[in-house]
C-alpha cells in the first residue's frame, strides 16, 4: 500500500468517526457533479431542517424569509474552476455564488471548498480562510463539501506546522482546522449536529 493510500484510508476512517461523509473522486468535475447531486437530493428530501420551520421570534423568522431557491457558494476556486462549476450550476438551475455572502446570512445550501492540507490521524482538513467570503460560505451553508487532494494529507498536525508558520509570517492570515460538522452537546450532553455551521460535512478525497 502506498503512503498516500494509507493516509487517505486513515483520513476516511477518522473523518467518518465524526460523522463526515467521505467519498473518493478522480477529477474536480466529479466533485462538481457530486455537489450538484447532493444539492438536488437535499432539496427533494428536505432532510436538513435548519430551524426555519420552528416557531421563532419575529427577528429570527424575518431572516429566514430572505432565503429563496437553491444556492451553492464556492468563493475559493481558480478562474477556470469557477467557470466550470458556475456553468454546471446554471445548467442545473442552482444559483452559483463566489461573493456577497453577507447578503445571504439566512443560509445557503452548499459551501464548496478545496483544502490546502489534511491531518489524517484526526480526520481534519486545513482551510486557508483569509477570504471572508470563504469563511462565511463554510459557516452559513447547510452542507459543506470540501475537496481534499490526497497528496496533501499528512499523518499528524505537526506535519502541517510549517505551513501554518509560513502563512503566519507572510502577513495577516486566518487558518481553520475543520473536523466534522458543527456540533454541540450542551443540552443534556445529547449530540446535536449543526448548531451554528454546516449540518452536514462531505469530504471528497481527490486522487491527484
Amino acid at each position: 500500500m502506498s503512503e498516500n493510500t494509507r493516509l487517505a484510508d486513515m483520513m476516511a476512517e477518522k473523518a467518518g468517526l465524526v460523522s463526515a461523509i467521505v467519498a473518493r473522486i478522480k477529477t474536480l468535475d466529479e466533485a462538481f457533479a457530486y455537489t450538484l447531486d447532493v444539492c438536488d437530493k437535499k432539496e427533494a428530501c428536505q432532510l436538513l431542517p435548519s430551524g426555519c420551520e420552528s416557531d421563532l421570534s419575529a427577528e429570527a423568522g424575518a431572516l429566514c424569509e430572505t432565503k429563496l431557491g437553491k444556492i451553492i457558494a464556492a468563493p475559493g476556486l481558480s478562474a477556470d474552476q469557477t467557470r466550470a462549476f458556475g456553468e454546471a450550476c446554471t445548467k442545473a438551475g442552482v444559483e452559483f455564488l463566489t461573493e456577497g455572502m453577507r447578503s445571504h446570512l439566512a443560509g445557503i445550501d452548499i459551501g464548496f471548498t478545496i483544502a490546502e492540507a489534511a491531518i489524517a490521524e484526526t480526520g481534519t482538513f486545513v482551510l486557508d480562510s483569509r477570504s471572508e467570503e470563504l469563511r462565511l460560505a463554510t459557516m452559513i451553508c447547510e452542507v459543506h463539501v470540501c475537496v481534499v487532494p490526497v497528496s496533501t494529507i499528512r499523518e499528524t498536525s505537526f506535519e502541517v506546522e510549517d505551513y501554518l508558520r509560513q502563512l503566519a509570517k507572510d502577513g495577516p492570515s486566518y487558518v481553520a482546522f475543520i473536523t466534522g460538522a458543527s456540533r454541540t452537546a450542551d443540552i443534556e450532553r445529547v449530540l446535536a449536529i449543526g448548531v451554528h455551521g454546516p449540518l452536514e460535512l462531505h469530504i471528497l478525497l481527490l486522487e491527484d
Binding site: 508558520r165 486566518y174 466534522g180
Partner: protein, 720 residues
Amino acid sequence: MQTARDLKEYRGELKSALDNEFLRTAMDNFAVAYRASRAKAFAGMDVDGLVRDIAMAKDQAMARMDELLAEFTKNAEALGITVHVAGTGQEANEIIGRIAQNANCKRIVKSKSMTAEETLLNHHLEDLGLTVTETDLGEWIIQLRHEGPTHMVMPAIHLSRFQVADLFSDVTGTKQEGDIQKLVKVARRELRAKYAQADMGISGGNFAIAETGTIAICTNEGNGRLVTTLPRVHVALVGLDKLTPTITDALRVLKALPRNATGQAITSYVSWMTGPSECKAAPNGTKEMHVVFLDNGRRKLAKDPVFSQVLRCVRCGACANVCPVYRLVGGHQYGHIYIGAIGLILTYFYHGREKAKNLVQNCINCGACKAVCVGGIDLPRLIKEVHARIQDEEGHPLQSSLLGMVLKNRKMFHTLLRSARAVQKPVTGGTPYLRHLPMLFARGQEFRALPAIAEKAFRDQFEAIRPKTVNPKYRVALFSGCVQDFVYPEQAVAAVKILAKYNVAVDYPQDQSCCGLPVQMMGERESSRSVAEQNVAALDPAKYDYILTLCASCASHLKHGYPEILGPDSKADSRLAAKVRQFADKVIDFSSFVRDVLKVEASEFRVDGRKATYHAPCHLCRGLGVTEAPRALIGLGGLEYLPAEEEDVCCGFGGTYSMKFPEVSAELLKKKLANVEKTGAELLLTDCPGCIMQLRGGLEAKGSAMEVRHLAEALAERLK
C-alpha cells in the same frame, strides 16, 4: 458563584444540591460516559509522556511570561493588532468597554471565554448600555438564566431540556417543546440573527502564540468562527497564562485538550488567527483587532515556587469530570467561576479568600483529578496548601489547632486514645461499634456505624507475636498508622502472621505516631511537619529493607507527602532531606510486598471458593499507582474475584472530610455499596483501614450481611 458566608451556609447549599434528582442523574451518567470516551480517545498514546512534555513546556513558558508577552506584542502590532495588558478584571472590562465606545459599537456577540467569566465582562458592558449575546449554546442558555457556568466546557450541564424549552419559549414568544434537536435549531436561527446585527465580536483564546502573534481558539459549534468573522471589531480576551512560545507548543496541547475535555480527538473547529483578517463590514475592508491580556494575579502566580504549576491548566474541565464530589453537588457548589479542583485553587488567587475559604475544604483528597490532569498539576496538594494559607491568614479553627497540638505530642495522643477505650463502654453496648454517641459527635453520622477503640492496641500486642527468625529474607519495619494500631489491630496481626511464615524479620518501632495526613488535610502544616520528622526518626530507613504499611493513605503520605514536607525544597536541612528520600524509597504497601517481594503462590493458600469483590483505595490505586497486586492476591489467596463497577471511585471516607461533610460522604458511600452489592459477593476486600471503617460502618448501618476484610486478614485466614 459562592455567596455562603460560612461553612454552615455552604453545607446548606450542598444539601439542596444533593436533593436535586435531575442533577444527580445527569452527573452520574456523565461521569461514567466520560471515563469511557476519554480512555478511547487516548488509546494507544503515551499519555504520561505527553503530560510530562506539556508540563515542562508550560513551566518553561510561564517562567518567561513577560518575555513572551513582549515577543507576542511586537509580532502582533506589526500585523496591525492593538495589544492591551490589564492588571485586574475591572481594568480588562474597562479597556474592552472603551474599545466598544471608541469604535461606536452597540451590539456584541461573544464566543465562550472563561476569562470573560472571570472578569464578569458582560455585566460591565451591559452597564455601559451595550447589548451582549453569548453565542455558545450552553453559555447563551445560562446567560438567559442570569447564572454562571457549572462546567468549564459544558456550562449548562445542570439544566434539563425542559428548563431550556421554557427559556426558549420566552425568547421566541411561542411555546417550545423539550425536543433537543429542535431546541438546538431554534438557537441556530435566533443566534444567526444576532451575528448579522453585531458590530463587535469578543472571543477568548486557547493560545496566544508569541513567535507569530497568533490567537488560536477551539470550538465545536463554530460560533467562534462567526464571532471573529462577521462583526467589524474583534477583541480577544486572553489570560497571560495562554502565552505560548511556538506553534509546536500549541499543537502539543491540542493533542491533549479536546481528548481530555470531551473525549474528542480534536474539536470541530480550530481557528488560527494571525492579525486582523479581511472584513467587508469594516470601513477599510480590514477588521479592527485587539488582544487584551489579563494578569489578575497570574504574574504573581508565575513567580510562586509552590503554585506556579497551576498556570499549566488548559481549561479542559477534566478535574471536574472525575471529581466524586463535583459529581454529587454540581458546579455551582463546586467552584465560584472556575469549576472543579482547579477552580478550588484559582478562586483563591483570582477572586479572593472570602470566595475560596469554604470551597477549598470540600476536597476529599481522592486524587482522581491529579490522575487525569493533562498539565500534571498536583491539584489535591495545592488545594490543601490554599487551605493552609487561608488558615494562616485568618486564624486556625479551635478543632483543627487542638488536633494539631495533640498529634505533635505522641504520648499525649496515645494516652488520650487509651482513655477513650476506658470510657467508651457506655456507648458501645458491648459491640465493636459506638452505639450511643453523644449528639455532639453523632450529627450527620447516622449513615455509618463508627467503630470502638480496640481492647488492646497493636503496639501493646506486638512483642508477643514478633516473628522469631533465623537468617531472615528481609528486614521490615511495620508502620501501623493510628487506625490499625488502636481500632483494627487484628489487621496488623494478620499481616505479621504472613510475614512470619515467609521468614521476614519484623520490627515495630514504638516511637511511631500518626502519619500526619489528617492534620495536613486540615491545613495544620506545622504539626504535619512535626509528626513527619518524628516518624522518620522513629523508623530509621538504614536499618530496614522495607517500611511496610497496611494503610493505603499512610503509605501514600509517607512515600509522596514526606518528601514534599521535609524534602530539599522545604526548610529541612540537607541531611534530613536525604534521609527522608531514603525513607520514602523504602515505603511499600502490603499488596505489593506480598505479591512482588514475597512472591506468594496459590498453592500456599486454602481454596474455599468464596466470592469476593474489591474496593480500590484512592491512595493505593492513584496515590501509589498499585492496581494489579491486590486484585491478583484475591485469586492467589483462594477466593473468586468478582469485579465491581467503579472500583476505583472514592468510598467517601476521606478521613476528617467525612466528619466535616457527612452528607457528601454518605452519598458517596451509598453509591459505593450499591456497586459492591450488585456483584453478589459475600466478601468485600480492600487494603486501607480507613476505607474499611467507612465500608463496614455503612454495611452495618444498613444491616447487610456482607463482610469487609483487609486483604491481609483474608490471606492470613487461608494461609496453609
